[in-house]
């Protein structure tokens, strides 16, 4: 198992802190443009995903990739989590994983 560059759990806020690094985020699909997904992050802000295939709107998708902008991720892996997902719980996780318990994750 390759643990050389773990993906950081992020939401739109925390994404800014990890530009150029490998991140993972769950977004709710708002719309699909050509090869680009526009979605809502777990803290309510917008995130753009480049290089990803289309997913049905209002589905929750996990994106693992490189953060290449304050609001965008260049996708490597995308997974459809379906239609029911607790955004608040994930957001809590992002905050804890990057705050108090950062050492447990990175």
């Amino acid at each position: 198992m390759d643990t050389s560059s773990p993906a950081v759990f992020v939401n739109a806020e925390i994404l800014k802190m990890y530009l150029g690094r490998r991140v993972r985020a769950v977004i709710q699909v708002i719309r699909n443009d050509a090869g680009v997904i526009v979605g809502q992050s777990t803290d309510g802000n917008q995130i753009t995903v480049k290089g990803a295939q289309a997913f049905p709107p209002s589905h929750f998708v996990e994106v693992i990739g490189i953060a290449d902008g304050s609001q965008s991720i260049r996708a490597e892996i995308c997974t459809d989590f379906g239609q029911s997902f607790d955004m608040a719980a994930y957001n809590g996780l992002c905050q804890l994983a990057n705050g108090k318990f950062k050492n447990l994750f990175l």
Binding site: D86, A88, A89, G92, L93, L96, K100
Partner: protein, 616 residues
């Protein structure tokens, strides 16, 4: 000349108890009253010498007895005293008049002479005379004083006892009582009487009961009596009667056990005085302390009772609820109340309130009546639910300012607005109804297993999130149950099964689960007793079905079924009780309800717990 007594004759006689010579005696005429022989003698007579104001015990000379026997002198007659002595009688405060010589003035006046002059004056005027004569004998003075007391007593002696009591008793309003002032009397009505309970604690045994007292202003206070006082007063106190109470003690009320709105509570002991007020009945004005529907959340599952006023929107039909403890059926009716906080709440009326008042409300529900209810218990069924108790009172369209206000509000806006039930606000929107209780009192298994004192008097309830780790395949999984009442049946003589409670035989019975499972969570392990309903959820099939698999499909399939149930997470609501089992005390954990684990809710619960860790 009409003969009459000499005014002040007695005082004259008393003042000069032993006149030296006959010439010292002024004209003294007294009336003879209460003339009677001494003992059975016919020669010695005693009487009261009266001058119209005062009386003096006297004795007639023996030689005079013939006059009485002949009728020349009778009772109520007049005599002129010519010679006399006043003697002190040993052991008596009064003096006695010994008449040594007298003459008849009038055989009988036919009536006793009395004068209206105030006797106190006589008393006053007498003293200077006595002092002047230098005869300051105590008995004399005492006699005078006694007269004054006697007068007061006589004056008031005719008054009825209650009136006399009322005059001497100052009634204090309940609101004025405090622990620092002991001399009070209150006039109260017994508005609630508790039961005489026996208890045992570290200090020994005892019994206690308490009552609720209300005075004319509507103020209420709780009074408690222990042991001797309890035995003494329990039969005296009757619901609805009015009593005068004094010599009780007051202390600050224990807010945990408060049932009435008063900062103080009263204790009565054997020295306390409780008197029934004859014929004095008052109906104390009912004091309400209304809580608005949107404020009920704070009272949920608390001990404090609330009062409610609102518009009746809906009345259900009467339901019969069966009580689990003794299988009694009790009538119940649910009504929906709305108030100007734009919220509704459900109130359950029980027993008489359901049948009588409930029916009244049903008949008039179209008029949207205002109803005021006192003493409601606040529960958490469906968020918030109100329930009546035996002491609750329901008044339809009461004469209160709130009634008018509610009427106005309802007619103008309330009728039209759709109002949400207050209960729905208090259930978190994401959890299913019922599963909310799955999250309350969450503990780890170790918290239950480490504490053997849990559930000693009453079972303690918790919720746990555990994995089923082991189900013994060769335990007795089920019992044979009656198809109607689910109670255990025994195999009857011949064929079929006999149900003891239904008192009937049945060819068929159903199998109901009764088993123990081992569960694990991060803190430890425990054995849980599980009954039919939660067991079906664990096993994934009914007991009948499992039995069928075992017998028809073989042991392997049966084991597989058990395996499938293992390492499945569940949320259980459990009760912990400490029971004696064959001289061995054991902690027994029983599953009351089961729910599947809701990951989203669990995540949120965990986030909260983590947050709590960082705060503390």
């Amino acid at each position: 000349m009409r003969k009459s007594v000499t005014p002040g004759a007695i005082s004259t006689l008393l003042s000069n108890s032993s006149p030296d010579s006959l010439s010292d005696i002024p004209e003294i005429i007294v009336q003879v009253v209460d003339l009677k022989p001494i003992g059975s003698s016919s020669t010695r007579f005693t009487f009261m010498a009266s001058d119209g104001k005062m009386k003096l015990k006297a004795m007639l000379p023996t030689h005079f007895s013939s006059e009485i026997n002949s009728g020349n002198l009778q009772n109520l007659g007049l005599i002129r005293i010519l010679d006399y002595t006043c003697n002190s009688i040993p052991n008596q405060p009064e003096k006695a008049l010994i008449v040594t010589k007298c003459e008849i003035v009038c055989p009988s006046l036919g009536m006793e002479i009395k004068s209206d002059v105030k006797k106190e004056e006589t008393g006053i005027t007498l003293k200077p005379k006595q002092e002047a004569l230098g005869v300051t004998s105590k008995p004399k003075q005492e006699m005078v004083t006694k007269s004054a007391v006697q007068i007061v007593r006589e004056q008031h002696g005719n008054a009825a006892p209650a009136a006399r009591l009322a005059m001497t008793r100052r009634v204090h309003p309940l609101a004025s009582l405090n622990p620092y002032q002991g001399n009070w009397t209150i006039k109260v009505r017994l508005t609630n009487k508790g039961n005489l309970r026996s208890y045992r604690n570290a200090r020994g045994e005892g019994h206690v009961f308490n009552v609720e007292l209300t005075d004319e202003d509507g103020t209420q206070i709780q009074a408690t009596m222990f042991n001797e006082a309890a035995t003494k007063f329990y039969p005296m106190f009757e619901l609805g009667k009015v009593y005068y109470i004094s010599k009780g003690s007051l202390r600050v009320a224990n807010k945990q056990f408060k049932t009435v709105q008063n900062d103080y509570e009263m204790t009565l002991n054997e020295n306390s005085v409780v008197e029934e007020a004859e014929g004095e009945a008052f109906v104390p004005e009912t004091k309400y302390n209304f809580v608005r529907i949107d404020g009920l959340g704070a009272y949920v599952n608390g001990r404090e009772l609330v009062d409610l006023i609102g518009i009746v929107q809906n009345v259900s039909s009467t339901l019969s609820i069966r009580r689990k403890s003794n299988n009694d059926t009790i009538p119940k009716r649910d009504i929906t109340i709305a108030d100007d906080s734009n919220k509704t709440v459900n109130v359950s009326l029980w027993n008489d309130l359901a049948t009588d008042v409930g029916q009244q409300l049903l008949d008039m529900v179209d008029t949207s009546p205002v109803v005021a209810i006192k003493c409601l218990k606040v529960g958490d069924f469906q968020g918030v639910s109100l329930s009546t108790l035996s002491r609750s009172t329901v008044v339809i369209n009461p004469e209160l300012p709130e009634t008018k206000k509610l009427r106005c509000w309802y007619d103008s806006e309330g009728k039209g607005t759709s109002m949400a039930s207050i209960g729905s606000n208090l259930i978190s929107p994401n959890s299913k109804p019922g599963s909310r209780s799955m999250h309350s009192d969450r503990v780890f298994l170790s918290q239950i297993t480490d504490d053997p004192t849990l559930g000693q008097d009453k079972p303690a309830f918790f919720s746990i999130n555990v994995y089923v780790s082991f189900i013994k395949p060769d335990q007795t999984m089920w019992y044979r149950a009656c198809k109607t009442c689910n109670k255990k049946v025994t195999e009857a003589v011949g064929s079929g099964y006999w149900c003891e409670s239904c008192q009937k035989n049945d060819d068929q019975c159903s199998l109901r689960y009764i088993l123990v499972v081992k569960v694990s969570d991060p803190s430890g392990e425990a054995w849980l007793s599980v009954f039919n309903d939660p067991a079906e959820k664990i096993m994934g099939c009914s007991a009948d079905e499992l039995d069928r698999i075992k017998t028809e499909e073989g042991d392997e399939k049966y084991q597989l079924k058990l395996k499938e149930a293992t390492w499945v997470p569940h949320l259980f609501r459990v009760s912990v009780a400490y029971t004696e089992y064959m001289n061995d005390r054991r902690q027994r954990i029983t599953v009351r309800a089961e729910a599947p684990v809701d990951c989203a809710a669990e995540s949120r619960y965990l986030l909260e717990e983590i947050h709590k860790l960082s705060v503390s």
